[in-house]
Symmetry: D2
Subunit: 463 residues, 4 copies
């Protein structure tokens, strides 16, 4: 079964840094923590050997002064991982560190291959054994296989045969490498401060270590950073079109990050404005489902002139060990995480803005809470189009039969969630918000997958 | 040395509940987690013996299904604690559970006595030994001392001799008791659902367990909840005026809580509006220091017509074990927690709203970050008056020489924090926002302490 | 219910030591670990304040370099505890550290009072509250109550009113105190090296810190060690006879410890010899139930001329978290801890020596194992007399109805445990092995309790 | 660098067992715990997939009811590991579980290959990557490489090319396999109970699960246990002679284990007798260095007629987290683990028996302790010959320059360790004790390595 996750990667090449690079990677991963809270890992090299430390949990839980101090050297990479399947062993944590032809290699990966099965079978046929469930181990074995003529040649070969979404940071004992798949599904950017180079999933991780944004890694590009500076191997096949994941802008990226020239918060604010233009409604108050709905709600408010207010308060202290309510207290489930701020809701016609609807179960409970708190009307506005199709490129969407929009009309959904009205952003609205630049994968909305998806993967959607 | 902390208390009397009350207390404390993250504890009674569990850390870290399951019975109390001193042992965690005259007693306390030293000396003189550093142990010994004639008589006596701030929940084997000091410094409210009674520091903890707000416990009141329902012993001495802590509205309380009829979020929004009336400035964008400055910033925006936007993004993954930057990376300290959302700041005249200034060090670093990100002007607006005096009633303020407003003029502070302009809310503004109802302790602003403070406590302010 | 446990105590007064005394106490407790594995604690004082650390588990689990480093000063005490009841909270761990009349007091206790209930009621009547279940808290409250005229006077008073077994080490901010009850049930000895004084339950703890044995603390004696050296307050009432617990020699003490001039191993070896004289039997091999039966088995072998061999091998890796066999694997229970060394048993007539029989269940399983391994005959020899009566002085014996010897004849027991013959050491044999010195409590064998036992305690024996 | 360790392996095939096999493996590993305390692991299969759990620490620390419950199926293997190098990561814990050609494989290994480097280079050359430092990963890759024609064929091939010591238990989804290298260095035996087959490093692990000993796995043999019962593939090349490690009898094996027909305790007892014949001395008392010297000391006593007594008491509570004495307390190092039982030593001429001398540092400190306790003479008798050569076959001996016997004469050593006399068992004595059966590797004594050792390994002996 292909393994799907959303992750964050970080790499640094700091030949003259007086600072401990393991600590810089620590802060870099901390800035990317929203991309994965399940495991974290750092690998560094002093030019001779690779040292690494990985663990389950948040960056601040996995690392302490002692284990950071042992991670020495001038080059390093890190990874945060979010796994939505049960296979959340330490074994699957990254970076994956291996020995190969007398030298070490570490690799951290964000994305999802669609031909893992095929590549894995090919490798197993040749006698390769696998110790983990993650794509990353397939990638590292492919690299090893083709690396006789050098790591760069091996990467070019890998770009040819690996199909799917992958943004990689790779560390050999003397260099740092960044790679993006041919479509550029997952973000990866380059930063610099002095002679220190940084690679990161998002610009917010450049900011935290004080690096200036240089540029994005391009789709199909391999950037090699070593003592000769940055060298780039670009994909010459221009027939493949860029297809950056639109959900990074909608939901994943931190609001302060900039992706392909678009700030995530601004995108969300703008979709809120467009949504107000497209689906205006008479109301007394705009509220958001926190935190993801807030920027669009403010945009909706600005455009509509209806005042924005905090309607729902989120409890931020839910940790990994929080005890969910038992069956008898099931109705509490949403109430525990969110509480209505009555003052802004009672006796009011409310517009509630959220970024997306997947299964539609939580939103119904929220709307019931709002009504119980005295809301006169509840109008739901969603700042992205209906999700009709599963993702095969690194986002863990449920199977098709659980995607509410794939199975019901908007009117049916409105009824199911107990809303007075319901509207989604149009695809046209998405295009407007991305300035009609193109270059996005919006297959979850329009079904136009940038590449053919193997049947065995599709099968998973109808379980 | 008197011990100062801000805490949250919760109590429940659920004679016919089919639900596990330890789990209800768990959720109640979870809703009060913002009042204390250092330790948590729950004590319950089945009518014969008291069982309890306490530990260091968040509610979700201290409790698990196993230890919650052992906490049986129909009456229970809980406590979350934040300690700002080094004395953060488990020994000091609450509720304090004792055996006395063949029966058990558990007590949880929010506040700070000002005559602890005196009471403790008196008790020690009579042969009492103390095992902890907390006021709570003094209170429980006083109760025991005067309890021959009954717990209620003992409480009346305690209200006479204990001076300072205290909101208590107390559990005997057959009753739940709530007590507020004569001035009512710290909040404590009563809720009800069916025949279940709830006492809690804030209304948000009533909401989470599905209880309806009944009323506040009054200053100097003792409420006793047992199989005869709720009985109240009220203070007949009307010469003492109510003095609820204004900082609960400004900062401590959760935005969805309602204190003495005023919703915390609305208070903050309103102070933002008044601040805009009092200290308008030409600007392009209103931003907030998250999270505490957000409602006032929105209020300022609504009043001024200047658009509100997210200017700073807070990283929410800082846990207790987060590694702070070393000396060399000191300048990163603020950057790690907050990042500028450039798009909303670059090239703009910015008004930044926060709830208060204590030492003035962090705000300077934030302003420097904004300028580095391209802000043309930074105008600071504070939604409370300058803090000129220390608190002796349960808030851990630094000593007077570290309160920047007690030592510098507003113009000097503006210069120190690198702002283009700086304004505070006026005391008049506070009165407006509290609807001129009176009944607040604003000693930190105006020095009018509701009671005389012993010299040995005052001495601490000039260390 | 009175609380019964067997514990170890240690105290040190080291005015000029260049070594960290917390580390010396650590090693002292480590040498006493066999006396209690449930919790461990250390308290030290620098002359001004008392610092302490306590935890559940072995000494090596509770302490680490960090927490030992924080325990500073020149005086300190420590405690290891074994609790046989369910009340094994951290709350009950010792030393108990309290504040009293502006100064600190720490107390560690080995033994069991028989009038706890009465003393506790008296104190509660006067308004004292209790936070733990242990006798120690009663003692510390009595001390506080009578200490106006000084700690020494208070101790004299306590010796008068506290009835039962207690060996105490007490630490004030400028002195170390050792106390033994009037009968001297539990051991406590004095050691010295240079100007460092040591108090310890057993001499093996003097050895480990390099202190020379000075003498035992006498029954009813208070020794005070401070900057004037050692001062002794002795009990002048000579009517009370010494009654040291014989089971310290039989089982509790470490083999290398010397108690009242008798080495524990030698005592055990000698009882083995006497047992062979009293109850000889034709056999091929002497084996022991390890570890407690080994010295007596060797003594039996020397006296009888029958060769000793290892017949049972004990697995030493059973930790606190070991998973006991489930019901289906119940027959494995003994096999997991002990394995037969077939070679020494098969086809042989075996004499198996153990130190005592309490319930008689384990020994039957062992004998069955020996037979299954091919033993032709199994003769059981016990190096102490039958246990007919419960202990009220610090040993956790089961209630009378579970003591097999109190309920069955020797012949019946022999039959129950599947032995070919069974013999116990005679009381006369015990006297011989203790050189007829007298001064021992042997109430478990002969029912002659050194003091009257309250009826409420006796009641517990017939549950 | 080749990795050296001593480990324990266990395997079970229980097609109709009503018991949880993970629990049986737990007890099996618990019985083998003396062979490795650093990490433990279990893998089981339900015929479709392999589940495993590994961790650092003792068996009782790594496993709990929850993780054992998840290990389902009818076939399973387990491993305990002791690593003497710094590379004690979880990564290196066993069993190693891999996916290969659509099916799972788990492998646990005891021993040490001498041509690891060569095999690893060969595999790396073909594109294999390595994730751990252990031989086991090399073995599993070789197996995968040759397994196209079946696992049995692959194993035959592996036996040809893998040089060194290895006893393996291997689990595929439908079978359990045991393998011993051509010389049979490390023990591995077969047991049976009902239709359940067991493989284990030592017979004591058969006993604990109630299995009868069937036979040893022969050198060069592959035993395959599946639904057709046990099939054996034997090595037909009879030119290679058996070379079982003599140190298993001397030290490693548990006293109750039987290896190649010889009980470990009996061997040790017998060497003590032979030693007394070879190197008698006038003395008053025989004592042992516990625990390893005890059986030989008893043998020496029986032969010499000099009484045996406990001279040294070992503290058994040293756990993994025990704090070793600091530099200032260095002299305490031995005293902490061992204490002299003065009574058996003072004023006496003592013969102290131990199983071997490696560096000679500890024994000197022990002898100094004995003298300080009043021993008149200390005669040292060692129940094995001087260790003159390092081991390359699974025992972590220090490099040659640290082997005291390789660098000094017996008289020099006697002087260095402060003994009155010193004697070792003769090689002839070893032969007697093993009944002149031959078939042992005694290279550490006589330098006759059963196979050529690569120069790169030898180089390590002169670091």
């Amino acid at each position: 079964m292909p393994f799907r996750d959303e992750c964050g990667v970080f790499g640094i090449y700091a030949p003259t840094s007086s600072e401990k690079i393991s600590q810089l990677i620590y802060y870099g991963l901390f800035a990317l923590q929203h991309r994965g809270q399940e495991s974290a890992g750092i690998a560094t090299t002093n030019g001779e050997a690779i040292t690494h430390h990985k663990g389950m949990g948040l960056v601040s839980e996995v690392f302490n002064k002692e284990n950071l101090a042992k991670l020495e050297g001038k080059i390093g990479i890190g990874h945060v991982r979010y796994s939505t399947t049960g296979k959340s062993h330490l074994m699957n944590a990254q970076p994956l560190v291996v020995q190969h032809r007398k030298s070490g290699l570490a690799l951290a990966h964000n994305g999802n291959l669609v031909n893992t099965e095929e590549l894995r079978s090919m490798l197993e046929e040749e006698g390769v054994v696998f110790q983990t469930d993650v794509d990353t181990e397939v990638i590292v074995n492919l690299l090893a296989r083709y690396s006789k003529a050098g790591l760069d040649k091996a990467l070019v070969k890998c770009l040819e045969i690996m199909r799917g979404a992958f943004s990689l940071v790779i560390m050999a004992e003397d260099k740092l490498i960044g790679v993006k798949d041919l479509h550029g599904f997952r973000p990866l950017c380059i930063g610099k401060t002095g002679d220190t180079w940084v690679l990161a999933s998002e610009t917010c991780a450049l900011d935290i270590v004080g690096a200036e944004f240089v540029r994005e890694v391009e789709p199909g590009e391999i950037v090699i950073i070593d003592d000769k500076g940055l060298t780039s191997i670009k994909n010459r096949n221009k027939s493949i079109k860029k297809a950056a994941c639109i959900f990074e802008l909608i939901y994943f990226a931190r609001p302060d990050s900039v992706l392909d020239g678009i700030n995530a918060n601004s995108y969300r604010f703008k979709t809120g404005k467009i949504l107000a233009q497209e689906s205006m409604v008479e109301a007394d108050r705009i509220i958001a489902v926190p935190d993801s709905g807030v920027p669009a709600a403010i945009g909706f408010s600005v455009q509509s002139g209806i005042p924005y207010g905090i309607g729902l308060v989120r409890n931020r202290y839910i940790g990994r060990t929080f005890i969910q309510p038992t069956q008898e207290l099931r109705e509490m489930a949403v109430r525990i995480k969110l509480n209505v701020l009555k003052k802004n809701v009672q006796g009011k016609r409310v517009v509630m803005v959220d970024d997306s609807i997947v299964r539609g179960t939580t939103i119904r409970q929220i709307i019931d809470m709002l009504r119980k708190a005295g809301a006169k009307e509840v109008h739901v506005r969603i700042s992205s189009p209906p999700i009709l199709n599963p993702c095969y490129f690194g986002i863990d969407t449920p199977s098709r039969d659980q995607l509410v929009s794939a199975n019901y009309t908007i009117e049916e959904i409105r009824d199911m969630i107990h809303a007075d009205s319901l509207a989604f952003l149009s695809i046209e609205g998405v295009q407007k918000a991305t300035k009609h630049t193109g270059g996005y994968c919006r297959a979850c909305f329009d079904g136009k997958y940038p590449m053919e998806v193997p049947d065995n993967m599709k099968a998973l959607d109808f379980k």
